[in-house]
Subunit: 343 residues, 2 copies
Amino acid sequence: MNQKKATIHDIASELGVTASTVSRALSGNPRISQNTRRAVLKTAKALNYEPNQIASALRSGKTQLIGMLVPIINRSFFSSIIRGVEDVANKLDYRVIVSQSDEKQENEAATLKAFLNARVDGVIASIGKQTRDFDHYQEILDSGLPLVLFDRTTSDLQTGQVVIDDYEGAYKATVHLIEQGCRRIAHFTARRKIDIYKKRCLGYLDALRDHNIPIDKKLIFAGDLQLSDGRRHTAELINKQLPFDAVFAASDYAVMGAMQVLKEKKISIPDQVALVGFLNEPFTSFTDPPLSTINQFPMEMGKAAARIFFDSLESERGISEQKIVIEPELIVRASSEKRKTNS
Amino acid sequence: MNQKKATIHDIASELGVTASTVSRALSGNPRISQNTRRAVLKTAKALNYEPNQIASALRSGKTQLIGMLVPIINRSFFSSIIRGVEDVANKLDYRVIVSQSDEKQENEAATLKAFLNARVDGVIASIGKQTRDFDHYQEILDSGLPLVLFDRTTSDLQTGQVVIDDYEGAYKATVHLIEQGCRRIAHFTARRKIDIYKKRCLGYLDALRDHNIPIDKKLIFAGDLQLSDGRRHTAELINKQLPFDAVFAASDYAVMGAMQVLKEKKISIPDQVALVGFLNEPFTSFTDPPLSTINQFPMEMGKAAARIFFDSLESERGISEQKIVIEPELIVRASSEKRKTNS
């Protein structure tokens, strides 16, 4: 109880640097070199220095909080992105607080106000499906705070963005099915005209064209990409006796619906119908057969978003408008890998 | 631009109530009747009243933010609880911000400080597996803020709690397997002595005892309850030629591991070995055969936690120490339902 508390001045004199360097090192300012930061942290620990976070926040004007706004927390894709952001942020002593919009603009607006209210140092967000204008996001930028958008972005906002190449993912998936010998590939897409689904559909169409496979619009189904949609589309294919030898769905849930109906009808997967989904939801490796899908590297996406965020935060040139595009990867599992017969 | 902004006084005089009633109705104070609240909201809308949230927060001392601390966001169980809390909170114009501890005490402490820093109105939390003392939680209570614990709780803190009856869930699962004719029921539990897993193990043991089935300790395996643990335990059962006709695992992931190994060894499910998991992870309905499991009603758990939270917030008697126990439900699917042969 008698022990005097160490201050940043004690650390500074111990190391022969200025108190302001110590303060910056402790607050994770990237302008401080890794070596200096390490030395400061080591000395701080040795001296039993305990930062008064609230005082330091008031002094620096920073709360070391990042507000993250996601459409739905309960999707492996989004929670992996959260994890990626935390991975970078926590090392810099930043905490990430998350709120879900449930795809609704009114919730986004309320959350962004709440974030300002909580004095976050900036926002990392993915736009809800039902959002129609971006004034509430513009307010963040107008407050001088960094805003980084990921996955569901808009060119209406001049700010940093991280997206995946949806077109490329869909193109790879379709080419893979063609290489397995499939020629009548059905595609399940979204009814709503959302950018990512339009791009996935384009990738599918271009892959067919590039391989001189005729496009049959009767094989393209638009719905909500849920399990029930996948079931309905597949039942329709079967009932209308439309020949098809593969399904590429823009969502894992929709392709799961296809798998259920095919199994019920004793149609063999992948021999009669091969299946590829999109997103690499955890359940895809537990199905029988396991589902081929597209990995979007959400952890990497989160880390990239965090890096743009800290660039913006520390830059004297203002908000970073950097745009990072992540290349997706095709994961081939048993649902689409046909046994080779003539090799 | 010329239009004068409506104030709560305008709403009050329109309705013939006091400004303080309007303010309370707008802030979701439960002491205001639903009818009054509805009338106030309707009039506020008609008059184009736009609350200045920051000003109102400073006035009332409330930010209308609930800080939620969960071990892992990316579990259907926890994200459904978040959804349940939001369901109650959003109706009262409260926003929920979430942070994950990754089971670590240091992260919990940092997040709780950040929540205080962000001036949340209180905290709803589930304790991490690696947490050893509760001083950081006590600080929340010492600040006079409501704290509600759910699922992973402790009797060391005098505060509101919502738990499920883990014992009862395990008991129901085991009795169900006995009723299917199983007598050699293996149990996969946690190595770490965490309350919920101890209770699940007790429920299993008591169900056997109550049905005069001898307990064979060689059938009880302690690990980390991940998929790989389930695989390992099942391989051990088979390799050691220990007869078993069922597996009840305290986690869906572990029972999924059992399913994989049994299928690889061509052991039929449920006829030779019946399977029941715990938690009702979404993938359990997608496996082949679908997995029987225990539903913990996480949405209900979240709603109950939020209700205790608002009770505490509005109570003049201080923090609510109410404890709610939720009854789990057995979901029987094909992995454990044997065809009846003599009925």
